[in-house]
């Protein structure tokens, strides 16, 4: 065994805790990615995993518990059972985080691959273990980078299959949910504005740019740059704020 530096040993421990991999595999992955944790995860998950039979069996059982009787997917019914097993509300944002880990294509359904992939990514194979991971998943929302990814993931996930844009009501719901985790003082005004003035679906660009806006522009709009290439909708929102005297010009 090579001598590992302290930081590398920490990384190794972290890696094993999250992926549930063996030390040997963990080491392999970390070395292959030059001891970058994120990259190591990629490496690890892209390899076909030699899984212990026990793990796979348990995952199968779990999957079968929730899967829809008529199709090889977990649908809305199964998801609500899963939620009650986990003792969370279906609208709890942690389900979004879970879906993100699964890289679920769309809300209210999980394919078999998605289900398996997600649970493996979290390194769990039982409800109990998954339940333990819940607080960790919640904490991920506090991480700036992860929140960014989850937020952007949410657009594709929440919209209707085959649609390019996100229906307004759904978008508003998602925003309320997301900005409860990461405070943005203007979120309510934004939602009011959209309902009064816009009444159309939200495009991907607008969705993504809104997070930028919330992150970089202060609520008093002191550093709002009119030439800042913000989407038209956001420019209109700013006008709306001035008109309603929410903000002084």
């Amino acid at each position: 065994m090579h001598k590992l530096s302290r930081s590398n040993r920490d990384k190794l421990q972290q890696f094993v805790a999250i992926t549930g991999a063996s030390d040997k595999n963990a080491l392999q992955a970390l070395k292959a990615s030059d001891w970058q944790l994120e990259a190591a995860f990629d490496v690890f998950y892209s390899q076909p995993q030699p899984r212990s039979n026990g793990d796979m069996r348990r995952l199968e059982e779990l999957y079968n518990r929730y899967k829809d009787p008529y199709s090889d997917m977990i649908l809305a019914e199964g998801i609500s059972v899963l939620c009650s097993d986990l003792q969370v509300e279906p609208q709890d944002i942690v389900t979004l985080v879970l879906s993100w880990h699964m890289n679920a294509a769309t809300a209210c359904e999980f394919s078999k691959e998605e289900f398996f992939g997600g649970l493996q990514a979290l390194g769990v194979d039982s409800i109990g273990k998954l339940q333990e991971k819940l607080s960790f998943m919640r904490s991920e929302l506090k991480d700036e980078q992860k929140f960014h990814e989850i937020y952007n993931f949410a657009f594709g996930w929440a919209k209707e299959k085959g649609q390019k844009s996100l229906a307004l009501d759904t978008a508003i719901g998602m925003w309320q949910l997301l900005f409860a985790e990461r405070e943005w003082p203007l979120v309510n005004h934004w939602c009011d504005f959209l309902q009064d003035h816009h009444n159309k679906a939200i495009s991907k660009d607008t969705w993504a740019q809104l997070l930028e806006f919330a992150r970089t522009v202060d609520p008093a709009l002191s550093n709002y740059d009119a030439e800042g290439a913000w989407p038209y909708l956001i420019d209109e929102f700013v006008e709306y704020l001035y008109d309603k005297s929410v903000v002084e010009k």
Binding site: S165, D205, E212, E227, A229, P231, Y232, D235
Partner: protein
């Protein structure tokens, strides 16, 4: 000498003894010369011998008494000059200057003679000792002892200034005398002229003109003031020519310019009832020209004039185009614009010497206010329409070109050229279809001008319209050629319009009378026989018909009506009385069009071929209609059709504007894609700038609209935002 030395060279040897000059020699010689100088000054030189005096002076210098000669000369001359000074000081009044002048002339003559006498000294002793030469010395002595003598110095200056002042106030003075005195100053040295005369002269002049300009500006109007200023300027230049040194000209004119013009510039230009604005309004070419010539002499003079002209023009233009009264008649509106343009052209060429900066200021002002009225493009097209329908009748070709060129000038000012294009197309279509154009050549000429200005794309559809008309003629010939049996019965004339070239109109339903629809079907089969794969749809809202009608008292008239009107009228062949509902049912013409049609047939005085019950102005759903047997017109041919191009109603205007905005969207997108394709990556502000620039020949692109188009392109995956810099866009191949 011995005889043997006959051939010896003749030698001269120096004196073997020293020659001693008589010590009194110098004094004696000097006395002679001194006396001569006295005599010269006393005008008593005739008895002197130049040769002798010269020789004496020569000898003195030769015997090394140059210094004595020099100092003696200075002392003697000084003494004389002091006396002269006293005489001059004693002179009273006008004689003072004359006395000075006289003495100066005398001194000069004397000095000349003395210099001649002392020439040898001048060239040898003075040369080597580097002292001032005789002549300059003589001048300096005059300057120091006469001109700068305390009792003369100030008095001289004041006398001169007083004379100048008097001349300025209208008196006649002895110019020659003053000339001599100023020349004297110049001879004494340029610095003497400047210090002892010119500087004080300029100051006094400045004071004088300060006062005078203040008086004038309180009492005169602008035109008069400028005349006076010009006069004073000319006078001063004249004055310099007569009795001042030429170098003073620029300086004195600067003074006049400063005091009379520069200091009062704003007040003059803005003077009520007589300033620049008044001059412009009343075409006062002479006054304007004068103002231009005077103001160009001072810094910012022309800029001031130009700025006031510009703001006046903009203000006036703004009022002109936003006045609802003036916008009632589009043709008049445009004519007013053309007249203003002509007016300012004339002003700039006549009074402002075709100054390019003024030309530019005028152009930018016109561009500014013409675009303040959003209907300008429509009105200009209507103006052209009016001219091409009737206005150019009987006008020579060359004049037609002039009018069209002027219209093109206005066209260039338009920012929304695409709006003009839309209207022009509509109006052209109406002209072509009603056969109402006065001159084909004029039409074609204008198209060529538009093509030159805006490129091929602008006019290709318009040219297509002309082609369609020509082709239709040929088609009609072919149709009647192959259907000789149709020469009896109603004559059908069809214009086949290619959909893309003509303004789009939705096809309106309409039931044609039987006689007509039979013919139409025959034509349709004929046409489709020779042109397979095409689709024809009758545009019943754009046609006309000539009908022969016989009224109750036997009056015969030929009525020129629209297709809708024809359908309505033909119904009365089978019924005497018809209700609105019956007409509506039979013709299937949509209600608004039908109402308009009935109104023009029943409610217009002189054209009411049918009568309406009740006799109200508007068409009601329960109205009844009969033929107006009492119809009378002094003309056999009566025109009732309503196909003339008119100023649009509000709703029509809104619709056209909307269509224009819709048309712009793809153009903006095309521009964005074009730019991004070549640049690959570009930031937001630059995209806006480039797109605006590309579209500027057609219309002024709105940055907000451009932004919306960019977002639309992002959604359709033509573009994406850069990951790190959100202001950067990338082209997606």
């Amino acid at each position: 000498m011995s005889n043997n030395q006959k051939k010896r060279n003749f030698q001269i040897e120096a004196f073997k003894h020293r020659v001693v000059v008589d010590p009194k020699y110098a004094d004696k010689t000097w006395q002679i010369l001194e006396r001569a100088i006295h005599q010269i000054y006393n005008q008593d030189a005739s008895g002197l011998s130049f040769e002798e005096l010269y020789r004496n002076a020569y000898n003195m210098v030769l015997h090394k008494f140059g210094e004595k000669l020099y100092t003696g000369f200075i002392a003697t001359m000084t003494g004389h000059l002091k006396e002269k000074a006293k005489l001059i000081e004693a002179a009273q009044g006008g004689a003072f200057l004359e006395e000075l002048n006289k003495k100066w002339n005398e001194h000069n003559k004397a000095l000349e003679m003395i210099r001649d006498i002392l020439m040898y000294m001048d060239r040898t002793y003075i040369e080597s000792s580097k002292k001032p030469h005789v002549h300059p010395m003589g001048l300096s002595l005059w300057r120091d002892n006469v001109v700068h003598s305390p009792k003369i110095h100030t008095r001289l200056l004041n006398t001169l200034l007083d004379l100048v002042h008097r001349e300025r106030t209208g008196e006649v003075i002895d110019r020659g005398l003053v000339r001599n005195v100023t020349k004297m100053f110049m001879d004494l040295g340029e610095s003497v002229y400047q210090d002892d005369f010119e500087k004080p002269f300029l100051e006094a002049s400045s004071e004088f003109y300060k006062v005078e300009s203040q008086e004038f500006i309180e009492s005169c109007d602008c035109g008069d003031y400028l005349k006076k200023a010009e006069k004073r300027l000319t006078e001063e230049i004249d004055r310099v020519g007569h009795y001042l040194d030429a170098k003073s000209e620029d300086k004195i004119t600067s003074v006049v310019e400063r005091e009379m013009i520069a200091n009062h510039m704003q007040r003059l230009v803005h003077m009520e009832n007589s300033g620049l604005v008044n001059m412009l309004l009343n075409d006062k070419y002479e006054d304007l020209g004068r103002m231009y010539n005077l103001f160009r002499r001072v810094t910012n003079g022309l800029a001031t004039v130009r700025d006031v002209m510009t703001s006046h023009l903009r203000e006036m233009g703004k009022q002109l185009v936003t006045d609802p009264e003036k916008s009632k008649d589009p043709v008049e509106f445009v004519q007013r614009l053309l007249d203003e343009r002509d007016k300012y052209d004339k002003i700039i060429s006549t009074a402002f010497g075709n100054d390019k900066t003024f030309q530019n200021a005028s152009n930018s002002s016109f561009e500014y206010f013409i675009n303040l009225n959003a209907r300008s493009p429509e009105f200009i097209s209507l103006f052209v329409d009016d001219k091409l329908r009737k206005g150019l009748k009987g006008i020579a070709d060359v004049d037609v070109e002039v009018i069209l060129d002027k219209v093109m000038m206005l066209f260039r000012y338009l920012q929304e050229k695409d709006v003009f294009e839309k209207y022009y197309k509509q109006h052209l279509a109406k002209r072509l279809l009603s056969g109402k154009t006065v001159s084909d050549d004029a039409e074609k000429s204008l198209i060529v001008k538009l093509k030159t200005e805006c490129g091929y794309q602008f006019t290709s559809k318009l040219e297509g319209m002309f082609t369609d008309m020509k082709t239709s003629e040929d088609t009609m010939r072919g149709f009647y050629g192959s259907h000789p049996e149709l020469s009896e019965g109603p004559t059908l004339i069809v214009q086949v319009l290619t959909t893309g070239s003509w303004p789009t109109q939705p096809a309106v339903p309409c039931n044609l009378p039987a006689e007509v629809s039979v013919l139409c079907e025959k034509f349709r089969s004929y046409y489709l026989g020779t042109h397979t794969g095409r689709r024809l749809s009758w545009q019943t809202n754009m046609g006309t018909a000539d009908i022969k009608a016989v009224f109750g008292k036997g009056q015969k008239h030929e009525l020129n009506v629209s297709t809708f009107q024809m359908c309505v009228l033909m119904l009365f062949n089978n019924s005497d009385r018809l209700s609105y509902k019956e007409i509506e049912q039979a013709t299937e013409i949509p209600a608004p069009d039908l109402k308009r049609c009935l109104q023009s047939l029943a409610c217009v005085k002189g054209k009411n071929v049918i009568k309406k019950e009740p006799m109200s102005k508007d068409i009601g759903e329960d109205d009844l209609f009969v033929v107006n047997d009492k119809f009378a017109s002094k003309f056999y041919k009566v025109k009732i059709g309503t196909v003339v191009a008119q100023k649009e109603t509000e709703p029509e205007k809104q619709e056209t504007r909307q269509r224009v905005e819709e048309d712009r969207k793809p153009q903006i997108e095309a521009a964005i894609v074009r730019i991004m394709k070549s640049r690959k990556i570009l930031d937001h502000n630059n995209i806006i700038a480039e797109v605006t620039k590309q579209l500027q020949p057609r219309f002024l692109a709105n940055p907000t609209e451009i932004k919306k188009r960019i977002e639309s392109l992002i959604e359709r995956d033509f573009l994406e935002r850069d990951n790190t810099d959100r202001k950067l866009y990338r082209y997606l191949a």
